[in-house]
């Protein structure tokens, strides 16, 4: 006699589904916790991902088009002249992808005192005095408040002209240019031809008195070693390549005299900005998911107590303990899966609405969307374990004694 009691997975699934559909309202309410948990998950990850993408774009525009070259001098020989030669910017301009390039350094004024009137020095101690090549000035994207920038013509003639940063101008009391005002550095007069109100790069320019390179060279001599830097603006996407080539282009025989600072990787920047925020919200989403799972566990347990006589009946009809347990686990897993599906949809809708309101492009990675319903199912599965165990442990005689 080899009789067995058995049931196919398909029939088991059909029984589980029928059990759920018998109480549709309660099933929906039970799944609500998972719906909230999973939709919170998807919304949080989706919104932070979308926001991260916007931050990416903003950083990328500036950071990915900038290369800075620093003069570090020859490794062993101290105190030679600076590493940038007179034709540095011309050499770099010749590289493919370079938009603007120029050298700048702090001018070594012997008695650095800056004032708007001869001999008067007040409140200008923290202002800076920079030699800035016109190419470097262009690379900062200066926004002129008044006047004009100096150009190659001023440089070649070594004219004593200056462009002021807006902060420097207001400290010095220079407000209008029509009277051809001058600023005095070490008692030498420089005619102010322009005031810059904003820059995208080299923020210290706003605190500076900037003069052409050749003017600085003739008044103060060459820069000290390791003081000069070069600012390069490249076309989008070209910065990495330019950074690789620039040292050799500047000094083919001694590229080691330069340190090249290439763009920050936008990805790592965004990760560090968003990491903390993400973690907090993912924690909150996890908590709501856990609460959802407890909701399922609780309702399934109550449902099992109500369905004791059904369990007894099934046992009397030949269901094994395992069959009973599997049916209830399936019920809670299906519930979790349905909750997860609805939750994923709600989460995606939330991300889209938020993105529309912020005028962002919604970005949701597939690795968030596809596993999300499974997360719900997993929550349901875990939630069903204890109730299913209780159901399986029900003694058929006891179960049938209760009327129902």
């Amino acid at each position: 006699m080899t009789l067995r009691s058995r049931i196919s997975w398909r029939d088991l699934g059909a029984e589980a589904l029928a059990g759920l559909l018998q109480r549709p309202g309660r099933s929906a309410l039970t799944a609500l916790g998972t719906v909230l948990g999973v939709s919170a998950f998807v919304a949080v990850l989706g919104i932070t991902g979308t926001a991260g993408n916007q931050i990416d774009e903003r950083f990328t525009a500036l950071a990915a088009t900038q290369v800075v070259v620093e003069d570090v001098g020859p490794p062993d020989m101290p105190a030679s002249e600076g590493s940038f030669g007179p034709d540095s910017s011309a050499r770099v301009q010749a590289l493919n992808g370079v938009v603007h390039a120029g050298v700048w350094w702090p001018v070594p004024a012997k008695k650095p005192s800056i004032s708007a009137a001869y001999g008067v020095v007040t409140g200008t101690e923290d202002l800076r005095f920079l030699a800035v090549e016109d190419g470097a000035l262009s690379a900062t994207h200066p926004k002129l408040q008044q006047g004009r920038l100096y150009d190659r013509f001023h440089s070649e003639r070594g004219e004593r002209v200056a462009v002021l940063g807006a902060v420097a101008a207001s400290r010095l009391g220079v407000t209008r240019l029509d009277g051809q005002p001058a600023v005095f550095v070490d008692e030498r007069p420089y005619t102010v031809i322009g005031i810059v109100s904003e820059v995208d790069r080299l923020p210290e320019a706003l605190f500076s008195v900037m003069i052409p390179l050749s003017t600085a060279e003739s008044d103060y001599g060459m820069p000290e070693q390791a003081a000069a830097k070069m600012l390069i603006e490249t076309r989008l996407g070209a910065a990495t390549v330019v950074a690789e080539q620039v040292a050799v282009a500047l000094r083919p025989e001694a590229p080691e005299r330069f340190r090249v600072i290439s763009p920050v990787s936008p990805r790592s920047l965004h990760d560090s900005v968003l990491g903390d925020v993400n973690l907090l919200f993912v924690l909150l989403a996890t908590i709501s998911l856990v609460i959802g799972a407890f909701g399922i566990a609780n309702t399934t347990l109550v449902g099992i107590l109500e369905r004791t006589s059904e369990i007894g009946l099934r046992r009397s009809l030949g269901a094994r303990r395992w069959h009973i347990g599997a049916q209830f686990i399936m019920e809670s897993t299906i519930l979790g899966l349905l909750g997860g599906l609805v939750g994923t949809s709600l989460g995606v809708i939330t991300v889209v609405i938020v993105s529309l309101a912020q005028q962002w492009t919604a970005v949701i990675a597939p690795w968030i969307i596809f596993p999300a319903p499974l997360v719900g199912a997993a929550a349901g599965l875990v939630a069903g374990i204890y109730p299913a165990w209780r159901a399986a442990a029900t003694e058929p005689v006891e179960a049938l004694r209760r009327l129902g």
Partner: protein
């Protein structure tokens, strides 16, 4: 012929507190094709006996042989398999699934016997035909009358052609006319050769059987 049921000094004690000796040691042999009725007052141990006969419960001591095999020491899995294939139960309170049709309720009896869905539904239809409910196959069970429900319960108990049909007060909730219909149905099953054990406390029901045993305070006579 091997008896369907053979109880040797089988008893059942519920470990209290206080402990209840629901069934004193009984000896009972039921040959195949017998229509046995069990009568006794409320609380006398009828359901306890039926649960043991149907392998839902084990005797605390003694031997129970079902179709010649000792089943009192079998593991739960094998006992469950015997329930699925060889025993049919008709409960006093129907125990139908309320939101399922008559056919679905009857088909449930073969769900754990490994039959395919189509076969189950087919057999269920035939069994309902047999109990005179062919026209109500797709009615929901909670829209049916008491007599109809009891007949659905009987159809469910016989759909898998068990070797033993156990009925616990099959007419307890029915008026006389409906009860007669159900009893006629049991007679018919008996004529077809099925072994029946029917519990009742009504003597006119007991009289329908071939053989009647009385149980009083857990003692069989």
């Amino acid at each position: 012929m091997t008896p369907v049921i053979r109880l040797v000094d089988a008893c059942r004690t519920f470990p209290g507190p206080p402990p209840v000796q629901a069934l004193h040691p009984v000896n009972l042999t039921v040959e195949p094709g017998t229509y046995l009725t069990v009568v006794g007052p409320s609380g006398s141990g009828k359901s306890t006996l039926l649960n043991i006969l149907g392998l839902l419960d084990r005797p605390s001591a003694g031997v129970y042989e079902f179709e010649g095999a000792d089943v009192s020491e079998l593991n739960d899995r094998s006992r469950t398999a015997i329930r699925a294939h060889q025993v049919g139960f008709v409960f006093q309170s129907f125990h139908l699934m309320p939101l399922r049709t008559a056919t679905e309720n009857v088909a449930l009896a073969q769900l754990y016997a490994g039959a395919g869905r189509r076969q189950r539904m087919l057999d269920a239809g035939i069994a309902l035909e047999r109990v005179g409910l062919g026209h109500r196959r797709s009615s929901l069970s909670n829209t049916m009358s008491g007599g109809e429900r009891q007949r659905v319960a009987i159809a469910r108990a016989i759909v898998h052609r068990p070797s033993l049909l156990l009925c616990d007060e099959p007419t307890g909730n029915l008026d006389t006319a409906t009860a007669d219909g159900v009893l006629d149905l049991l007679d018919e099953l008996h004529r077809d050769g099925m072994t029946l054990v029917v519990i009742t406390h009504a003597s006119e029901v007991a009289a329908r059987g071939q053989r009647t045993v009385t149980i009083r305070d857990g003692r069989l006579s």
